[in-house]
């Protein structure tokens, strides 16, 4: 058996009653819950500690109008993208119902999917809760639910544990609990110690455990999405309001972006001490990587006396790091600089960046346009993900299929 496509990036949207139904009695009133937004007639999450609602917008959109093979309808469907004013009943049911989800990904020719939390929905609020016990309970509720979701079709869903940012011990304990429940990868919302800014020596206990458990460690784009108290309308100038709000809360948003996290992880020697650690940047795209690695290496070579690690940054990247993209023409063209084995395709379904139900078509087409061989396309569209998440496939069938392509 081989696959057609494995999405390395999909999302749930937490159902509205998830936390109220499952939190311990003492926390029920204080956890995340859903309200109506009066002006935009949409839904939003509110919770203790957040003064502004996290509105449903980019994090949960859909285009039902686009049809496979009909690109005009796809471009037309972009008009449906909303940054606010989205309601739960507008969403795909597969956002929370695994049976519906299995059908939805089948419609997009996807065999299996790595599934992450809803990012911009509840997670800023949960991480920033003052009451760490309440915060931890929310992470646990979510992970329990993900284990149930995955159990519906473990051959098709690879569900992420979202690890608590409440401290190193909590993070380690929760990782072990999630592995015992059968979850197959973990997502960091902060460095393992709980810091949103810097790795620390103490984190080594976590990296060691991840290696021991053979758990791939994901960072999904960045530690903070623009939502809740960190939200604002995006303009041509970017999101300056968001930065100012974050600064007032003592958060450096730039420090939580994947390229900066990767820089700090490499400089801290994490990959030198844990050479088999699997570290994944999901929805980080590709086109920036060749120049980033070129300059990172150059800065090390130019300041060699200040660099105490035996390998170059690009060498750690190529050995330890994988990156996931949605659509990326530049990255597909520069795949040899990034590493064909370091790239995984993941269309971000059902978020607004997804092109369902033509994600598979677009993904394939971009690689073909860049001149990728059938074997390279297999690697990027599913095989790297199958290897990463240990999904079974028949290597002999793969050779036969590729040979078939060449004879065609």
């Amino acid at each position: 058996m081989i696959y057609k496509a494995i999405s390395a990036d999909g999302h749930v949207n937490e159902p509205p009653n998830l936390f109220e139904d499952r939190l311990p009695a003492k926390f029920k009133e204080r956890g995340p819950r859903v309200i109506e937004t009066p002006n935009t007639k949409g839904h939003a999450w509110v919770m203790e500690g957040q003064s502004r609602p996290s509105v449903l917008g980019f994090a949960c959109m859909y285009f039902r109008s686009s049809k496979r093979g009909d690109r005009a309808s796809l471009i037309d469907s972009f008009k449906n993208i909303k940054d606010r004013g989205v309601r739960f009943e507008d969403m795909f049911e597969g956002s929370w119902d695994p049976a519906a989800r299995a059908k939805e990904i089948t419609d997009d020719q996807i065999d299996a999917e790595v599934i992450f939390n809803g990012v911009g929905t509840v997670w800023n609020g949960i991480k920033l809760m003052k009451d760490k016990e309440l915060s931890l309970a929310c992470f646990q509720v979510y992970n329990d639910w993900m284990a149930e979701f995955q159990a519906y079709a473990p051959d098709r869903f690879i569900c992420n544990a979202t690890l608590p940012s409440t401290g190193l011990d909590d993070c380690l304990t929760e990782m072990t609990r999630c592995v015992d429940m059968g979850l197959r990868t973990v997502q960091l919302e902060a460095y393992p110690s709980g810091s949103f800014a810097d790795p620390s020596d103490a984190d080594d206990r976590f990296w060691a455990a991840a290696v021991e458990l053979d758990m791939p460690v994901n960072v999904h784009t960045e530690f903070f999405f623009p939502a809740g108290d960190l939200g604002s309308k995006i303009t041509a100038e970017g999101v300056p309001d968001t930065k100012l709000r974050a600064k007032a809360l003592g958060i450096d948003l730039d420090a939580g972006k994947f390229p900066v996290i990767l820089y700090k992880m490499i400089c801290a020697g994490v990959f030198e001490r844990f050479p088999t650690l699997k570290f994944i940047g999901t929805e980080v795209h590709l086109g920036w990587i060749p120049y980033y690695l070129e300059k990172f290496d150059e800065s090390v070579l130019r300041n060699r006396h200040e660099w105490n690690l035996p390998m170059l940054p690009s060498e750690y990247f190529h050995r330890n790091v994988s990156v996931v993209y949605i659509v990326d023409e530049a990255g597909a063209a520069d795949r040899y600089d990034i590493g064909v084995g370091n790239m995984m395709w993941g269309p971000d379904f059902p978020h607004s960046s997804s092109n369902w139900p033509v994600d598979y078509e677009l993904g394939h087409e971009i690689l073909e346009r860049a001149g990728a061989t059938p074997a390279e396309i297999d690697r990027i569209m599913w095989r790297n993900a199958a290897d990463m998440y240990q999904l079974p496939y028949d290597e002999n069938a793969l050779v036969a299929a590729t040979a078939g392509d060449e004879n065609a």
């Binding site: 471009i75 100038e237 900066v260 820089y263 120049y291 990172f296 087409e365």
Partner: protein, 387 residues
């Protein structure tokens, strides 16, 4: 074709170091007690102005960021004379196989001057520098291409100094540190400034950052190889309709390479195509994508940037300008030529000639290239986004 005997290699981003008497000799008398001063304290040679200070970089001693000297200049006598003496500069260019250089000042000094917030002093210093760099360039106008600074003291000062730089001092380009009217974003209020830029067609440089300083953390964080902060100034210019109203306005994003820009351009287009109905910003020409505005009106200086060279067809072959960065950062005087050759060794001769000299000669209309890009073959823009 490039005249290989005249301009085989031009650096689009090199630096001078301001001589110690520049301000004390040229500022109006009433400002002289506030003038920036160069002095050595605890073994370090540094500029001081008000409560601000800026140490000279170590590499001004030998012009190389790769073979850095054991310590920086202990006094101004340790600074390479080529950094402030025009006849010495020509010898340094000869030693490096460089035919001409576009000259920027020492950024740290100007961050310090700006940080004083003393508008009278800032304006005086800018005018003194512009007079000095004009004299420096006049020593050999086809090899020393000094750029004028625009003061950060308000629209009228900016416009007046722009006119003075171009019409009176004969400078071929200018450097912008803030929006001319000092607003947070480019708006219609600055049109009086862009009108003059449009009419004189003088390239406008942003050197690494606009509105920040070289001492502030880059917006993308501290990691190397990310988008330089000056890129954040580009899309607001497009969104403000500057290029629709003033089609001859051209920008140079200096000292920041271009390898990052392929991704930036692609994702700027993707975001626009998907989100334009959310009206984050609008384009007046509905037939163009934002990257097409950007690629038409922006040039990039590149140093050790193989990624940009490789993706030159996406960025625009005529929009990449090699630079040595002499004497800062990764400059490697007197071996910059070797690096330039290595960087471009796989290119066809014509494209190599463009990136190493002809593009910058056309942009600044250097002798022999007075017509600029008129008459040069215009290449079609590569498509960056497919849906």
């Amino acid at each position: 074709m490039l005249d290989m005997t005249g301009y085989s290699l031009i650096s689009a981003d090199s630096h001078v170091i301001e001589p110690p008497d520049l301000f004390s000799a040229r500022l109006p008398t009433k400002l002289r007690d506030r003038a920036p001063r160069l002095a050595t304290a605890s073994g370090t040679c540094r500029w001081s102005v008000g409560s601000e200070s800026a140490p000279l970089p170590d590499s001004v001693v030998n012009g190389s960021g790769w073979r850095r000297p054991p310590h920086g200049p202990r006094s101004f006598e340790d600074v390479l004379p080529a950094l402030y003496d025009p006849s010495q500069r020509l010898l340094a260019q000869d030693a490096d196989g460089v035919a001409a250089e576009v000259l920027y000042p020492f950024p740290g000094l100007w961050d310090a001057i700006r940080a004083t917030g003393d508008h009278e002093l800032i304006l005086g210093c800018v005018r003194a520098y512009n007079d000095w760099i004009a004299e420096f360039s006049a020593h050999s106008p086809h090899r020393l291409v000094g750029l004028g600074r625009i003061p950060m003291t308000g629209l009228d000062d900016a416009r007046d100094e722009l006119l003075r730089c171009v019409k009176d001092l004969g400078l071929r380009g200018i450097i912008l540190d803030a929006w001319p009217g000092l607003g947070p974003a480019p708006g219609r209020g600055d049109d009086g400034f862009w009108e003059v830029v449009n009419e004189t067609q003088v390239p406008v440089s942003i050197h690494y950052t606009l509105g920040g300083s070289s001492r502030s953390t880059p917006v993308a964080g501290i990691a190397p190889g990310l988008r330089p902060p000056m890129a954040d100034a580009a899309l607001p210019l497009v969104a403000a309709g500057i290029f629709d109203r003033f089609p001859n306005v051209r920008f140079v994003l200096a000292h920041g390479d271009a390898g990052w820009a392929t991704h930036w351009l692609e994702f700027t287009d993707i975001n626009y195509v998907r989100h334009r109905h959310l009206a984050q910003y609008q384009l007046q020409n509905a037939d163009l994508l934002p990257s097409e505005y950007l690629r038409r009106h922006f040039w990039f200086t590149i140093h050790q940037d193989r990624s940009a060279v490789k993706n030159r067809h996406k960025l625009g072959r005529s929009h990449l300008l090699w630079s040595s960065h002499f004497p800062l950062d990764g400059a490697d005087w007197p071996d910059d030529r070797r690096q330039a050759i290595r960087l471009t060794e796989e290119l066809p001769a014509e494209e190599r000639g463009g990136i190493l000299g002809e593009n910058v000669a056309r942009l600044y209309r250097l002798p022999g290239f007075e017509d600029g890009f008129a008459g040069a073959a215009e290449e079609p823009m590569a498509r960056l986004v497919y849906f």
